[in-house]
């Protein structure tokens, strides 16, 4: 089990906290973040650029790639202040670049890929989306069929992806395709960088049950990318490359979201005067404290080594807590209350939370993973 790592003196951390708090107070956007379309793109890029110029982007990224090489403890303090200031949700169009594509390129990319892409991601010049799921490959990602035919020094992409958030406003996509037609499952897959403005790409937004059309279908008709520029981690090694990304997703990348949820549950507890709902909110408050304890301990432990399998427990815990919290919020405030209205109210959160136990592997798959990889239980007969 991970343990809490010493980072630096408490005084230094508190000075850092004071700096973060002051900067956020002076720079936080005055308008609420748009949830979709070109306005969303402009807002996210502008906010990312401001954080970058203020020195608050890529805190734990290596300084050679434009980050600040700070500690995980400082990253946590930044996110605590970020949530406290009600800064724009990090679950926006910059999420994939900052938390999936960027870290994957840091881990597996070529020097040219790093030099070209990482500064753009950090400084708010490029939006990334993810192209993993397909209509026939959801929780069972390894069954993916989107094809990449190798022709000389190019790959020709043919097929379809789905649930690609912000693909309609993205500059690049992290794309998983099958480059070896004879292969099956985890072999013969390639992870590549696909510019979204190439000929042959069609993007069709899908409206979600929560309102915005941020999910997209993406169709590829003879889309050509150069192997040297596009492939990360080697042709045919895509599964391994993707797992590096998913490992990160289940570790420190979610800290901001976890801390944000804790903050929102604390607000529910403060607002709760209804004795009937109070016991539920009390349990949520305890669960929120546990989420914090687990995610801090896990993030700090992963600083000094590879994240352990506990990440899958924390991810599922977060997903189900987010659902229960928003469910209780609708009961507490009631439909028609101000707290439920608007793009960032609890009604949106309540509906959006239904995706938490589906996206990135359903809760059922997560429980299989915990049973098999964490607890060592046998796989069932197929």
């Amino acid at each position: 089990m991970p343990s809490v790592q010493a980072a630096m003196s408490a005084d230094t951390l508190e000075q850092f906290r004071a700096g973060a708090r002051a900067w956020l107070r002076a720079n936080i956007p005055t308008h609420a973040a748009p949830l979709e379309g070109p306005e969303s793109r402009a807002f996210v890029l502008d906010w990312q650029r401001r954080m970058y110029e203020g020195g608050w982007a890529g805190l734990t990224w290596p300084s050679e790639f434009g980050g600040r090489s700070l500690t995980v403890a400082q990253q946590i303090v930044w996110f605590e202040e970020y949530a406290r200031a009600h800064a724009p949700s990090t679950h926006n169009a910059s999420f994939v670049g900052l938390n999936h594509a960027g870290p994957t390129i840091i881990a597996c990319g070529t020097d040219q890929q790093k030099a070209f892409h990482l500064p753009k991601i950090l400084s708010g010049q490029a939006i990334w989306c993810q192209g993993f799921s397909e209509p026939g490959s959801g929780s069972d990602l390894a069954s993916l069929r989107c094809k990449g035919r190798i022709e000389g020094d190019e790959i020709v992409i043919e097929g379809q992806k789905i649930w690609s958030s912000y693909a309609d406003i993205a500059d690049y996509q992290e794309l998983l395709i099958r480059t070896d037609p004879e292969s099956s499952r985890h072999k013969g897959i390639t992870w590549l960088i696909c510019p979204m403005d190439l000929p042959g790409i069609t993007v069709r937004p899908i409206k979600t049950m929560a309102g915005p059309a941020k999910f997209c279908e993406v169709f590829y008709d003879q889309v050509r990318v150069p192997i040297a520029e596009a492939v990360v981690g080697g042709v045919g090694n895509g599964w391994k490359t993707a797992m590096a990304t998913l490992g990160f997703e289940r570790g420190t990348a979610s800290l901001a979201l976890q801390i944000g949820l804790v903050e929102r549950i604390e607000k529910l507890a403060a607002d709760c005067t209804d004795p009937v709902i109070a016991p539920r909110i009390a349990d949520l408050r305890a669960d929120a404290a546990a989420l914090k304890a687990m995610s801090y301990s896990f993030a700090l432990a992963s600083e000094s080594g590879t994240p352990g399998p506990e990440g899958s427990l924390i991810r599922l815990y977060f997903a189900e807590l987010a659902k229960r919290a928003s469910d209780a919020a609708v009961d507490l405030y009631g439909i028609g209350a101000d707290q439920l209205a608007g793009d960032h109210g609890w009604a949106y959160d309540y509906l959006e939370a239904f995706s938490e136990t589906i996206a990135g592997g359903t809760a059922e798959i997560q429980r299989n993973i915990i049973g098999e990889r964490v607890l060592g239980l046998p796989r069932g007969k197929a």
């Binding site: 809490v4 010493a6 951390l13 946590i76 016991p279 009390a282 801090y296 059922e364 098999e372 046998p378």
Partner: protein, 321 residues
Amino acid sequence: MTIFRDLTETRELVDSFTRPAETLLPVSRLRDDPAGEGARWGSLAELGWLAIGLPEDAGGVGLSAVEEALAAQTFGRHLISTDYPAAVIAAHALVRRGEAGLAGEIAAGARRAHLAFRQRNGADLVAIDATDGAWLVVLTEQGVDILENGTATLHDAEHWGRPVSRIAAAEPMWSLTDPELAQRGRLLVAAMLAGIAAEARSRAVEYAQVREQFGQPIGAFQAVKHHCANMAIAAYAAQELVTFAAVSLAEDADDAAHLVHAALNLALRAARDNAGLNIQVHGGMGFSEECDAHLFLKAARLLDAAVGGIGTVRGALMRAA
């Protein structure tokens, strides 16, 4: 303010000095000898287990609430008698009253104490393992009451894994108002409950790996696997939060009360849920007395009662800043 502390060495230290629990406190001992720890108590005291967090000048080991909570998780896994938290809390209270000599007697195992709580009708006291006339320790909202135990009558020796006695309400011999001590006592109980949740998980997983039905280990079936995953999540959350709260309490941080109440709330639920699921995963065997699964459920319910029940704990958490 969030406190970040490296606990690697602390965990190693606590693991090393609590290791004798494997041989000294096998859960199977409770089949034949359900009351107290009997003659084992002297051995526990000799190992320093009753005095982990007591100051050295009171005969203690001089460690903090963190080591105390980590050790209590291990003792919880072994279903140590509730005499354990009673002794630790009484010794702390005595030190705070300036009675280091008496505290030392408790820590040395020479003077005994049992855990008690107010029955929900408010009239009587209920005591656990109180088979002799030793002191009774009652955790109150803001501290501790210490009572004499003259007139306890056995109420139920059948249902809770340990003898439960009733005593007509009496004035305490003395009371101590000390919110930090009240938190420390609750943290100790939370740690034992987290230990119960963890042990119930481990036993269920172990059984699911070896018990075969329909030609494969039952753990291969998703319905059973998902029970085990839920138990793993509950135990992990409880253990991490207990430790997080212990660090906060040891550092006297301003969120300590909030985190201790949260840890107790979570550990209460984790312990009863995991104990119940462990019985379920064991199937027919789990319902038999011969299988120890029921002991974890019963121990969890006694600790639950000792802190006033889940409703009280939820109320306290909602009032915490």
